[in-house]
């Protein structure tokens, strides 16, 4: 069976660190960075990138629309 691998790209400077994407992720990929962006927000990032399945849940709930999602099938 083909395995699905996903990854997200966060527009760091536009992320507001609200954390709404975190409980939306079924595989606990996302956390807020200790570091902050130019506006002082702890932006979202992939803490467990290998667990991402590209389901787009995080992007769908992100109020600021700052998440892009990518997905590939690996044989």
């Amino acid at each position: 069976m083909a395995k699905i691998k996903g990854a997200i790209e966060v527009d760091v400077e536009k992320c507001k660190g609200c954390g709404v994407c975190i409980p939306a992720c079924p595989t606990d990929v996302i956390l807020l960075a200790k570091d902050v962006n130019g506006k002082g927000y702890h932006y979202a990032y992939m803490e467990n990138p290998e667990a991402c399945i590209g389901c787009v849940n995080c992007a769908v709930v992100c109020p600021d629309g700052v998440i892009s999602v990518y997905k590939v099938k690996v044989a």
Binding site: G6, K14, C18, G19, G54, V61, P63, Y70
Partner: protein, 258 residues
């Protein structure tokens, strides 16, 4: 597999629609207005109607919706969006016309406009973002504020004996023969967002068929007004707002559900 091998244009499965501008949203972190804007624009994009859609922004936090939605828009005086939309739609019956309004705008100062536009059965879509408070002006009590809920003008909680009961505008307009589709949705989880988007799609399809007014309430959060962290606010909304404002369709094909 390296992340760099996955993040390539050919593997893209989701990205913000081009019908949202690149202007950073003026909303507080976690505010549902952004999600409600985005799914509305996704529907307009998916229906291919962006050149024929005109939105009417309200007064409230979403007063600047015209800066964020990359389509033709105007902005109405407080509460008057349904009247402005009525005028636009009657002059341009082939355009898709929608209003986007908060609960203070739609249920308080604009209560009269809302009821009469619904009763006339104007062929417009109303998107009603209910966060139970006046967000923009500093968290004052709205007609939709819950019993016992604290706001800057009900610091001891809304006392229904003197301040009345929360107004269920959506149930109210569902009683009017002019409304064809009336529903209540939310945007706090991926599933809720997907359902809300389907409802907005249905609302625009109804306008295409000239069937009457389609009214989509979105129960949302106001983290700043409620004085909560975004995720806590969403949980509070589920526990407190949803029992009073239950999600689901209220009127479908001109018939009350249940």
């Amino acid at each position: 597999m390296d992340v760099k091998e996955i993040i390539k244009p050919e593997n893209l499965v989701y990205k913000k629609t081009k019908l949202m501008t690149d202007a950073p949203l003026s909303y507080c972190p976690g505010c549902g207005h952004g999600t409600a804007h985005r799914i509305t624009m996704e529907v307009v994009e998916e229906m291919g109607i962006w050149e024929d859609t005109i939105g009417v922004a309200p007064v409230g936090c979403s007063v600047l919706a015209y800066d964020f939605m990359n389509i033709d828009m105007t902005q109405a005086a407080h509460g008057r969006a349904p009247a402005v939309a009525t005028g636009i739609k009657r002059v341009w019956p082939n355009k898709y016309v929608f209003t986007y309004q908060g609960d203070g705008d739609l249920a308080a100062i604009g209560g009269n406009e809302t009821i009469h536009a619904c009763n006339r059965g104007e062929n417009i879509v109303i998107i009603f973002v209910n966060n139970g408070i006046y967000g923009m002006t500093g968290g004052q009590m709205a007609p939709t504020t819950l019993p016992g809920m604290k706001s800057s003008t009900s610091p001891y909680g809304r006392d229904v004996k003197t301040m009345g009961f929360p107004l269920k505008m959506t149930e109210l307009v569902a009683q009017l023969p002019g409304t064809h589709y009336v529903t209540r949705q939310a945007v706090h989880t991926p599933n809720a967002v997907r359902k809300a988007k389907k409802a907005i799609r249905k609302a625009f399809e109804i306008q295409k068929e000239n069937k009457g007014l389609a009214f989509v309430e979105i129960v949302s959060n106001c983290n700043s007004g409620w004085k909560m962290e975004p995720v806590d606010a969403n949980n509070w909304m589920v526990d407190n707002m949803f029992p009073y404002f239950p999600l689901g369709d209220i009127k479908v094909d001109g018939e009350l559900v249940k």
